[in-house]
């Protein structure tokens, strides 16, 4: 079953435009001027139940607007959305029982209360019975390993502990879909990894559908099986992570440490990314030149060390953003 169905969704905003200086300010009072921005432009996609989807794009691409339409906060200009079979704009309250939201940059916990009091509070908000809430808190406490700080006021928790509690709060009512907006922002690598493990565990144990937006490629790479890239309000890529990587795996990064410095000339299929002293970094397009042929251009006796790797996902995504920008231009 599809958890989310988005059909030809569009949304525009009217933004006030003002000329420079005091004169412009006065003019905008008497004769305001507006510009229409196409935030989301005719997008369609489906998300299956239990899927972990990365919904990414550069700032201003339309991610946030799409999430807000999916959660019933914004009304679409055109098109339709269905989340767990519910129309978000018509039945926002009914939908709120089916979804959970975590915004890494916006806390929903009450800072002066302990996580336990917060969980009880949100349990009441979502109409859980007393004993039901207690059982759920006990369960989540174990899964998310909260024992140590469940009775410490939230304001005294570390960012990693707070994010864990934010996720628990959003799960208290057993939502079918969880919208995670930059859940690991500002966290150190160890805590990030910990949060990712918990998200995976949650998806596995509760079959929660996860709709993730993040600028952190690690989140996307380690959690998601499918990726949707949006830019300028349109979907520029909707593919499985495997396909995306496969498509770009024909390009390899070759890093060579040389005994003596050498001048490497670029050829068709070989791009010199960096050449500094005895260190050389090349990108080889294997559809045009295979690795063995590329390496033949370097004297084997001159090679001290060599490392061949795939193009980082971050570079792939940046490239897709750029490609789209150039196409639009």
């Amino acid at each position: 079953m599809d958890a989310i169905v988005v059909n030809q969704l569009s949304k525009t905003f009217r933004v006030k435009v003002k000329d420079k200086g005091l004169k412009g300010s006065l003019k905008s009072i008497l004769k305001p001027n507006y510009r229409t921005i196409q935030a989301v432009d005719n997008i369609s996609f489906r998300v299956e139940e239990g899927e972990i989807l990365a919904f990414i794009g550069p700032n201003g691409a339309g991610k946030s607007t799409t999430i807000k339409m999916l959660t019933g906060i914004l009304y679409p200009d055109e098109g339709s959305t269905s989340v767990m079979g519910i129309n978000p704009t018509a039945k926002r309250k009914q939908l709120s029982y089916q979804i959970g939201t975590v915004f890494g940059q916006k806390e929903q916990l009450w800072m002066h209360l302990t996580p336990y009091d917060n969980f009880k509070f949100f349990g009441a908000i979502y109409d859980l019975k007393e004993e039901e809430a207690e059982a759920r808190i006990a369960e989540l406490k174990q899964v998310f390993e909260l024992e140590e700080f469940i009775n410490t006021p939230v304001r005294n928790l570390s960012l990693g502990q707070r994010i864990r509690c934010e996720i628990v709060v959003s799960l208290i009512h057993r939502p079918k879909i969880l919208f995670l907006d930059e859940p690991t922002i500002g966290l150190d690598p160890v805590v990030k990894e910990n949060i990712r493990t918990l998200i995976k565990k949650m998806n596995r144990e509760y079959k929660t559908t996860i709709f993730l937006t993040s600028h952190d490629v690690g989140d996307i790479e380690k959690l998601c099986k499918r990726i949707i890239i949006v830019n300028h309000g349109s979907i520029v890529l909707d593919d499985s992570m495997e396909n995306l990587k496969y498509h770009y795996l024909n390009r390899k990064i070759v890093e060579v440490k040389l005994r003596d410095a050498m001048d490497m000339t670029e050829e068709d299929g070989i791009t010199v990314i960096k050449s500094k002293g005895c260190n050389l970094k090349l990108e080889v397009d294997t559809t045009k030149k295979n690795i063995a042929d590329a390496l033949k251009l370097i004297d084997a006796d001159n090679i001290l060390d060599i490392n061949i790797s795939n193009v980082p996902l971050e570079n792939i995504i940046t490239e897709i953003y750029k490609e789209n920008r150039q196409t639009k231009a």
Partner: protein, 263 residues
């Protein structure tokens, strides 16, 4: 309803962390009381027994009671939080929860002012007793009307302040409107009872929120009569309905406006 009681309880628990802040608020409370008690003491010392129908004791209790109401009701949640939620877009994260944002803020407001009101009430009564040597006489049968009038006063004030705050959907800064409302209550509703003002101005003042927020509840304590109780409660009921409808109307329109600006 249970969820709103939980919101009230959670806020109450949170406000217990701010008892010291509340105590700092007492400085202005004491200063204002000191000035006005001495002012009325001085005016009444000129061998006058009644001013506009009020004895010295009634006049001083009026100032104490209205100040108690006003200082208890002052709450940044009603002004700054709503305005900030709207301007920063944070309101979006509240309206996708299974509660009504307006009811949420009211429950939060009541939780936040509960401790504060109790503290101001005790402080006001102690000061009044020390200064005048006696409490106003209240009979048991008068209590329901008095309590009801105080509750109505608190809620109407909250609705009006919130109505001003939700204007932030359209205007950059609602602070000047709050300033006008607050000063109107302080100058016309706390310092002097309505009867002190010129006869021509009194009917107009009786139509303002002053009559239902501060004057009415205080008047029922210092000079209770059934007719006055009826007049105050009926006015409050009308104000309650109008101010709540106005608030909900502006809010509903505003949320649609948020839909235009969001994203």
């Amino acid at each position: 309803m249970r969820k709103y009681l939980f919101i009230l309880k959670a806020t109450l628990m949170e406000s217990l962390q701010y008892v010291l802040n509340i105590l700092l608020g007492f400085i202005t409370f004491f200063m204002l009381l000191f000035v006005f008690m001495n002012l009325w003491e001085y005016i009444y010392s000129d061998s006058v027994n009644l001013i506009s129908g009020y004895t010295k004791e009634q006049m001083i209790w009026y100032v104490i009671l209205t100040e108690m109401i006003w200082f208890s009701c002052r709450n940044p949640t009603l002004s700054f939080q709503i305005s900030n939620d709207i301007k920063s877009g944070s309101i979006a994260y509240s309206i996708n929860k299974p509660y009504h944002y307006i009811a949420f803020i009211i429950a939060k407001h009541l939780g936040e002012i509960a401790i504060k009101s109790l503290m101001f009430m005790v402080a006001g009564l102690v000061i009044g007793y020390c200064f005048l040597g006696a409490f106003p006489v209240i009979h048991l049968y008068q209590l329901p009307a008095i309590i009801l009038s105080f509750l109505f006063g608190i809620l109407i004030n909250a609705f009006l302040k919130m109505s001003i705050s939700v204007l932030s959907f359209w205007i950059e800064d609602s602070t000047p409107f709050h300033w006008i409302y607050d000063k109107m209550i302080i100058v016309l509703g706390i310092m002097f009872p309505v009867e002190v003002f010129p006869l021509w101005a009194q009917p107009m003042i009786r139509f303002t929120p002053i009559f239902v927020v501060t004057y009415g509840p205080a008047k029922l304590i210092i000079d209770y009569s059934n007719s006055m109780a009826l007049q105050v409660l009926v006015s409050q009921l009308i104000y309650f309905i109008i101010s709540l409808s106005l608030l909900l109307f502006i809010y509903q329109r505003g949320v649609k406006k948020l839909n235009v600006n969001g994203g």
